[in-house]
Symmetry: D2
Subunit: 366 residues, 4 copies
Amino acid sequence: MSFNTYGHIFRVTTWGESHGPALGATVDGCPPGIPVSAGDIQHWLDRRKPGTSRYTTQRREPDEVEILSGVFEGASTGHPIQLMIRNTDQRSKDYSEIAAKFRPGHADLTYWLKYGIRDYRGGGRSSARETAARVAAGGIARAALAQLVPGLTITGCMVQMGPHPVNRANWDWAEIERNPFWTPDAAAAAHWADYLDELRKSGNSVGAVVEVVASGVPAGLGAPVYAKLDTDLAAAMMSINAVKGVEIGDGFATAALTGEENADEIVMGNDGPRFLSNHAGGILGGISSGQDVVVRFAVKPTSSILKPRRTIAISGEETDIVTKGRHDPCVGIRAVPVGEAMMAAVLLDHLLLHRAHVGENRGRIG
Amino acid sequence: MSFNTYGHIFRVTTWGESHGPALGATVDGCPPGIPVSAGDIQHWLDRRKPGTSRYTTQRREPDEVEILSGVFEGASTGHPIQLMIRNTDQRSKDYSEIAAKFRPGHADLTYWLKYGIRDYRGGGRSSARETAARVAAGGIARAALAQLVPGLTITGCMVQMGPHPVNRANWDWAEIERNPFWTPDAAAAAHWADYLDELRKSGNSVGAVVEVVASGVPAGLGAPVYAKLDTDLAAAMMSINAVKGVEIGDGFATAALTGEENADEIVMGNDGPRFLSNHAGGILGGISSGQDVVVRFAVKPTSSILKPRRTIAISGEETDIVTKGRHDPCVGIRAVPVGEAMMAAVLLDHLLLHRAHVGENRGRIG
Amino acid sequence: MSFNTYGHIFRVTTWGESHGPALGATVDGCPPGIPVSAGDIQHWLDRRKPGTSRYTTQRREPDEVEILSGVFEGASTGHPIQLMIRNTDQRSKDYSEIAAKFRPGHADLTYWLKYGIRDYRGGGRSSARETAARVAAGGIARAALAQLVPGLTITGCMVQMGPHPVNRANWDWAEIERNPFWTPDAAAAAHWADYLDELRKSGNSVGAVVEVVASGVPAGLGAPVYAKLDTDLAAAMMSINAVKGVEIGDGFATAALTGEENADEIVMGNDGPRFLSNHAGGILGGISSGQDVVVRFAVKPTSSILKPRRTIAISGEETDIVTKGRHDPCVGIRAVPVGEAMMAAVLLDHLLLHRAHVGENRGRIG
Amino acid sequence: MSFNTYGHIFRVTTWGESHGPALGATVDGCPPGIPVSAGDIQHWLDRRKPGTSRYTTQRREPDEVEILSGVFEGASTGHPIQLMIRNTDQRSKDYSEIAAKFRPGHADLTYWLKYGIRDYRGGGRSSARETAARVAAGGIARAALAQLVPGLTITGCMVQMGPHPVNRANWDWAEIERNPFWTPDAAAAAHWADYLDELRKSGNSVGAVVEVVASGVPAGLGAPVYAKLDTDLAAAMMSINAVKGVEIGDGFATAALTGEENADEIVMGNDGPRFLSNHAGGILGGISSGQDVVVRFAVKPTSSILKPRRTIAISGEETDIVTKGRHDPCVGIRAVPVGEAMMAAVLLDHLLLHRAHVGENRGRIG
């Protein structure tokens, strides 16, 4: 990763601010010959789009992606794919308060201290709108994975809102498309709806936990010691706005387990090794084992709230601030497609890195 | 990060296997003129050294570091510093079982599937011995930080062993040097000693949570959007053997908070902004705020245990395995100095990256 | 460098094809607070623009740059600057011949063999139009250098056209703005005009040598052993379309010199070391010495000519090809501003790298 | 490339100084399963070894390589390979003059100005001894190429000493092993022997041009726009000590050609496209065409000479210097195996990069 780029071979550089003319992603290293269309990418963008339910920001952005390069007659050429999304709903408003004061929990203060200049309109570069570019790039990664690893699926969902986790006994993947929270637990969805309505009306917000699962991942992806698959997934998820924690498989819960409990025992399945459990989240020694790759990340509550909070002004004066405007009461909801996109980018990247380094899965068993 | 290298400017490449002739770290990008001595690095290595209490592996390695390059007349020259540690206690033993079978929870199976070749002696490259090279490199980072940011401190500690967390009311930093667990809670230390003795005797192991705190970190370190300070810390910690989760500040706990609760309110202190709380762990928008930088990571229980576990052999046959040998019942203990070393490397790297990009802290308040 | 990116800290990724909707540069790592305007960048682009004399392609592209991100209220913010240039003169034409046959000297065959897909319209990604994006990015680099190193100048010129070199006795920097060849030798310009007219009319083309000189470069830029200043300049220039050779200072001529002749003797000047000659081209041991940095590169003759040449078709059939269309008879002319742009980018990048690694010039003399 | 590392996938970091305890190369990204032995690497090192004829430095270094990691039972494991060469002939001598004065043509002055600290013993990091580490790493690259691309050969030779080029009519590859100059022209070898003897006796030195040719390179290696094969070759060669120019194929001579002359016409051969000439040096649009890849580089005369030259002392005083000691009268001779090693590393790296990005050669003809 460098400033605004992630990936080793499949390299994505996002650019753009919340209230500039456009934002987008420069995607380099996509293999040639992958079917790519604006329509396919749009499909993924629409899942992240604001304003689709009363639980997400009411900013109305069509978030229409344009492909400016790297695609010829419907397929990737191997050259950089430039994806641009115009900003259209830059509501003209008075930014004088936000320009003068630092909103707690936001990047306002640190951007100012670091750079001495700050595009304060809508948070500028620190706006969650940046994640639209990630989702667009993730669409490219998904298209490449679909061709290179048929059967691989990536699905994200919310598993906790505020203090309320899902009940894993209720888990039904089909459910995630039926509720505005992308949760596999219908009962949780019903409960969360009421809970979030109340928070929203009171001008407050709440955190969440998102889980992303990749199935059909071939064994052998990941590169010890520092480009481990889990290392790169941790970085990818932690880089998403508002994320404060990442875990793989049982994650923090493994701290409480004994070695005996935590061992994923191995038997022979029909087509290779089979594990009797998946505490490891599909990654051993930084390399995929063939099991489901499972990542979870914690999203802090949206910092923009209607509750007055103490802060300081750029003048040094102490003051209060209330962040008006159109905000997500639980930004974790829209983080679900972003987490999926990051998973797709990381898996594709490691697939390419693996073919560079090893060429093909080499070890045979039996 | 690439395969075995981390860092943007201050770049550390570790190399070596558990039972090869040596292991070490190639450290590039250290500023010139930093006082560096083998003795100083040895100080940090000795903290990680095995065999210092009955709670760590009884492997006896002096872990003596040699500086082969990059230091002249006691100071860094700006050229690569090669740090080498000879392996001396490669006890001659029978590796036939470990060569033929895959130990659950280890990298045995995935290394084999990926590479088709595996240095199985002591886990080869996946051995926790690799972390000695990290600690040595961290010693260089600490020396550079000491010169460039006087007053910056980095301290790690254990805050949970198995299901038993510390009581933060007992927190005393001075305590960490007084018990074999690097824990600031003397009561926890006493309790853990009995708990771990019992586990060790039964041939079992247990997980842990480690916390690393950096104080005196200047505001402005970190580079949005993908080289955020928290992104790089997440990657650095997740890359450590056996780590399954990383969190910044309140981490996963923020998911359960409201925006009102989670906001770190700001007032004016004597020498700049002061926060009334530190839920954010010292990082806002990926950039340090001047508060303590707080990272926690979960270490899974050691996979090498005396309890028999089901597994398969390279032949495809199903079998059982018991991992004899000298192992850590709680590998989290020795992860403490490793976490400190990674924190030091990341902070130095971001300090250098910041002076490249910005030159100096620019924003003024008041 | 990776696929489409160059630079360590100041990183430029160009994107786009000759006949797609747009091309551009994603510029990351520009320091914050640098005055940047589309007008300033346009100034440099206009120097490279086609159709300014009868000696360059008659393609009429306004090459107007739009800044899509990273600039706020006239200054860089430290975030990615997206520079976009719309393609407007994609003359609708019949591409069937060029699609079916491989033009000798072009990337047609190798792109096809490598990728199995090829945007053949105007050469696609291999078109010299890509260099417009470099020049735009170079405009950013120049703006940053102007602020960080006042007095530094970068000037390119043509020193040879076909077999006709300039006479260095005629050298007059002011001359380069007065002739269409950017040459400091007015006599050469007169001679070349006739020579090139004849070649152009016969449908032929010719090569050239370009020299770029940077004055006022501070001593200390460059990073041994592989990120030497000359290493990065060699890569930067060789990456320009049609370049087949690069040399620093006396370059290939030094092969014929003795050590006695080649030594640049040193005396004390008014403000530090002064050299009695500059065979080295301002770089010693990969690091700038404070003298003028001098780079030359050879540009092969344009491969698109009206002379029929033998080639093969994608069908495998042997055939002839004549490349009609609007082409530069001496593409070296328009390479002058491109070489300047690459010099600017490399110098800025090394300035930032130096401040990361060392902080400031450290050695004192006297 | 970063400070001391080159390569995208196959990454080589060299370390060490002329008079420190050791130097070496940390080689990361070598594919697993490649047969690697110290003996094979030694074979290549012995070609570069000083003291093999009266035309190279009389420093007596056995240059014995030790493999410290990454090789198990005779094959690469996919993990970092640490190659160490002990310095044994650090003749104890008086360094006071070289410590106090800056030798013209050396890195003495620029290292001092940049870093403010300088390991002056034998040039420290700027010593040509660093190239031993390159040759060792090149041995690994050659072993991997031998397995991945059977039939690929890499051969370097000297084609010019001082003002005396070879006569290409005399070219005989077999000749290069029969003379101390690695030249394919026996007549030139005879002439150069006398020429160099005279220079050596007078305490002078001379430059040279080295050519490296790779045959059997598959079409398709190289990655536009900035990781072109020629770009990376230019960087690789320019990074070698004393190199001042690099060219591909006809290089600077193409400047004098017309497009008609320079076109490498294409016909159909028995197994694919065949070119009627190779002005391009096997690279089109930055990608290998299947023809011989031809690179030449100019090596300046050794700066260490017995002729007194004017210089300054660190005190600022003007003075003279004569560089006594054991030096190469024509350092270009020993640059031949170094150029071969760099070619091997770059080709392997691009082979791996190609399999990452594309997977296999894709375009079909006929």
